[in-house]
């Protein structure tokens, strides 16, 4: 009870609703985004601005699976840490000592090729769930590491698709998306019974014949229209709704063969946020951020679910950054647009946006000559995630500033084959060098509170803690802590390999730990690696490094 007055004080300050769902993690880090609200915020405050300088390594785990670095988000439940690697190997380790309790090795098919990476597991219902590069979903017994069930989400050789994202556990179901939207592929979100692996439902991000929204596609183009769901969604238990971002329409840069001009919206539900009933997978609402996308501006990134006061009224919000470098703020009960603001400095793909979200002055790739457009298909942010602190009321965002000379090209769809409908280079913004910045925003108004510029590309997720710290890492191997209120650097540790994963915080027996994956990789990581500065490419590897205050520090 004695905490209540303090909670109310904070609520008054930042317009929080005291009865709002709490997105903070405590001792565990139970879900990909911390909780299914995706705040990436830990309520632990043992490590804070006054003692963070004393943070020291407690243990490390070298996975041995070094291809494509370590892009994963560890999950921690009851003192055990679960970690997936590129080839869908999964480790369970004692979260205090790092001792490996079990190690599951997904059998790699002969001649495995394509987009092999993995960004995390889901844990619950006595199982650990991992999705694979050949489009399987696997459930592993949480205690023994024995495979419990395995089901094919799709035929990877046929669909040109694969799964890189962490699954999301929603009540008794495990929900998983799919990558593949730059191929001739039709996206979906699929739910399986967590206990048995039985199919529960599938939602196609592109409506089929006879379904509402199908009329926004020309002819048969909906069959291979993209809309991949290549990152992990969010879940609001109070509304029983799952939120998921969808990828670009395909072919990416050439829309003439898919845009029907009929109905409201264009190429639904690509480059959109969809809200689905968690039990049935039926669509409740959608918001299309980029109608008729021709820039490869996926809306696939994380959906941050927060409750905040807007114009004197408490609203249930969904804050969502799109590859275009714009952030949409939606009412998550009905998809109503609350606001939209840019986080990138260079956004030449449009001349402006109306208050109701209509894009003005579209600057599109053309067929006969390269057109410089910012951001390029790498996006104003990559898939690494933002963090939100209810203490500061700020959203911490990694932003990258790159542009592309893009050309559109008409292309025929061949099922499962590349379907980009164009090509592009990676170029610096006009009069600038490629660079990035970490910003702190009021997530509702988009007012930037502070910004720190970095010469290289920041492709690791943000972690915010109640110690008013923000942790992240850079391509050179530095893992560091910023003051959540000012952005000033308080601590730095050279981990020896580039950062492309997502750090987490947890505690066991009252001791707080900060765990970060290290090891450079991924399409954007390999493609952009050292685009900004001179020097050797960011180093690969695959190690988890876990920090804590020495036992004698209080």
């Amino acid at each position: 009870m004695r905490y209540l007055p303090l909670l109310f004080a904070l609520s008054a300050l930042y317009g929080q609703n005291p009865s709002a769902p709490d997105g903070a993690t405590k001792a565990d880090w139970p879900s990909y985004g911390g909780t299914p609200l995706a705040w990436r915020y830990s309520a632990l405050d043992q490590v804070n601005a006054s003692n963070v300088k004393k943070l020291a390594p407690a243990w490390m785990l070298q996975t041995g699976d070094y291809d494509q670095g370590l892009q994963s988000t560890p999950i921690v439940v009851d003192g055990v840490l679960y970690l997936s690697t590129t080839h869908a190997q999964v480790f369970a380790a004692d979260a205090v000592t790092g001792k490996v309790l079990w190690h599951y090795k997904y059998p790699v098919p002969r001649n495995a090729s394509g987009n092999i990476q993995n960004r995390g597991v889901a844990v619950g219902a006595g199982k650990v769930f991992v999705a694979t590069f050949d489009s399987y979903l696997v459930a592993i017994d949480q205690k023994t590491g024995r495979e419990a069930w395995k089901v094919a989400v799709n035929d990877a050789r046929q669909c040109g698709c694969n799964i890189t994202a962490a699954p999301l556990l929603v009540k008794d179901k495990v929900v998983v998306g799919s990558a593949g939207g730059d191929s001739a592929f039709r996206g979906y979100i699929t739910a399986f019974d967590a206990k048995t692996g039985h199919l529960a439902w599938r939602f196609y991000t592109i409506p089929g014949t006879g379904e509402k929204g199908n009329e926004t596609w020309k002819g048969d183009s909906w069959r291979f229209g993209g809309g991949a769901t290549w990152m992990t969604g969010s879940f609001d238990p109070s509304l029983n709704l799952i939120y998921w971002g969808t990828g670009n329409a395909a072919s990416d840069m050439y829309a003439n063969n898919r845009f029907s001009g009929v109905g409201e919206g264009a190429n639904l539900y690509t480059s959109s946020v969809v809200a689905l009933d968690a039990d049935t997978g039926k669509i409740k609402w959608h918001y299309q951020e980029i109608p008729k996308d021709v820039w490869d501006y996926d809306s696939a990134y994380e959906c941050l679910l927060i409750d905040r006061e807007v114009k004197g009224r408490m609203r249930k919000l969904l804050v969502h950054i799109n590859k275009s470098g714009y952030t949409w703020v939606l009412d998550r009960t009905n998809g109503e647009l609350i606001g939209v603001y840019p986080v990138v400095e260079f956004h030449t793909w449009l001349t402006g946006m109306t208050e109701d979200g209509k894009i003005l002055g579209r600057h599109e790739p053309v067929e006969d000559k390269p057109t410089l457009i910012c951001p390029g298909p790498a996006g104003g942010k990559s898939w690494n995630q933002v963090a939100y602190s209810p203490r500061t009321g700020l959203m911490y965002t990694p932003v990258i500033e790159t542009c592309s000379n893009s050309i559109a090209r008409e292309q025929e769809a061949v099922e499962g084959r590349g379907f980009l409908g164009g090509s592009w280079s990676t170029d610096p913004p006009p009069g600038e060098s490629i660079h990035s910045h970490i910003d702190a925003y009021d997530p509702v108004t988009g007012k930037r509170q502070w910004s720190v510029r970095y010469p290289d590309l920041m492709l690791a997720s943000m972690l915010a803690t109640a110690g008013d710290l923000v942790f992240t890492g850079d391509p050179d191997g530095n893992f560091f802590a910023l003051d959540a209120r000012t952005g000033s650097k308080l601590w730095n540790f050279q981990t020896g390999a580039g950062h492309r994963g997502s750090a987490v915080s947890y505690s066991v027996n009252g001791r707080q730990y900060i765990a970060t994956p290290t090891g450079w990789g991924s399409i954007a990581g390999n493609g952009l690696g050292r685009a900004a500065t001179e020097g050797p490419a960011p180093r690969g590897g695959s190690a988890l490094i876990v920090f804590a205050l020495p036992e004698d520090v209080k």
């Binding site: 090729s113 495979e147 390029g376 592309s404 980009l420 090509s423």
Partner: protein, 247 residues
Amino acid sequence: MKRVLLFVMFSAVCFGQNAAVTKGLDIYNKTCGTGYCHGVGGTAGGAPRVAARGFDDAYVMQVVRLGIPHTGMPAFGTMERADLLAVVAYVDSLNGVTPPANPNLGAGPVRPKLSAEAQKGREYFADQVRGMTRCSVCHQADGLGFPVTLPLKTIPANLAELVQIKTPELETATAEGDTFPALALDKNGAQPKVYDLTTPPPVLRTFAKGSITFKADSAWKHADMLKPYSEQELELILVFLRAVSKP
């Protein structure tokens, strides 16, 4: 004149090679030449430049087939052989290499072309629009689908035979409080493994020894799985299966 004649002869000799390079350029542009990867003309995109690097034929072939570990370069060893050779020929050409003439280059897949009917049947067999109710969710043929069942060797002679297919190998399993139609892969090993056929797609489930029991026979019927298809579609699927099955 002499020069022209020489050029004509040279062109004739290299015609097969040029066709491969042209074909390779097309595949390269769609697969390797995107901005995510090596860029138009091999001038680099997200991935390194591949033009004018002094690569030789063997190196290009090795990298295309096997990829480069720890980088974004995937292995394309599973590509259609003719496509793979064509891409290699094109990347060779960017490096001033003329690989040994190969009469098969540009000739396309070795397998005889499917008839229009068989091709249509192939599409129905693995039709993504049907989601989990397509044949290929349980059967594998012509490189499509999953070999949950034994390889399809004896193809039903007609629709009536297809509908009457019996599945005596299916049993009814009970485990972890569930009862379900099961195709057992390993009943008595240390970790019994079965396909659970409750609802497509099949789930490969592994149990602790002694925690699963079996009863002969099952209420599961193959005929029920045919219902999403029309009779005409099933006929065409049989045409396809006959065309690709090895007796």
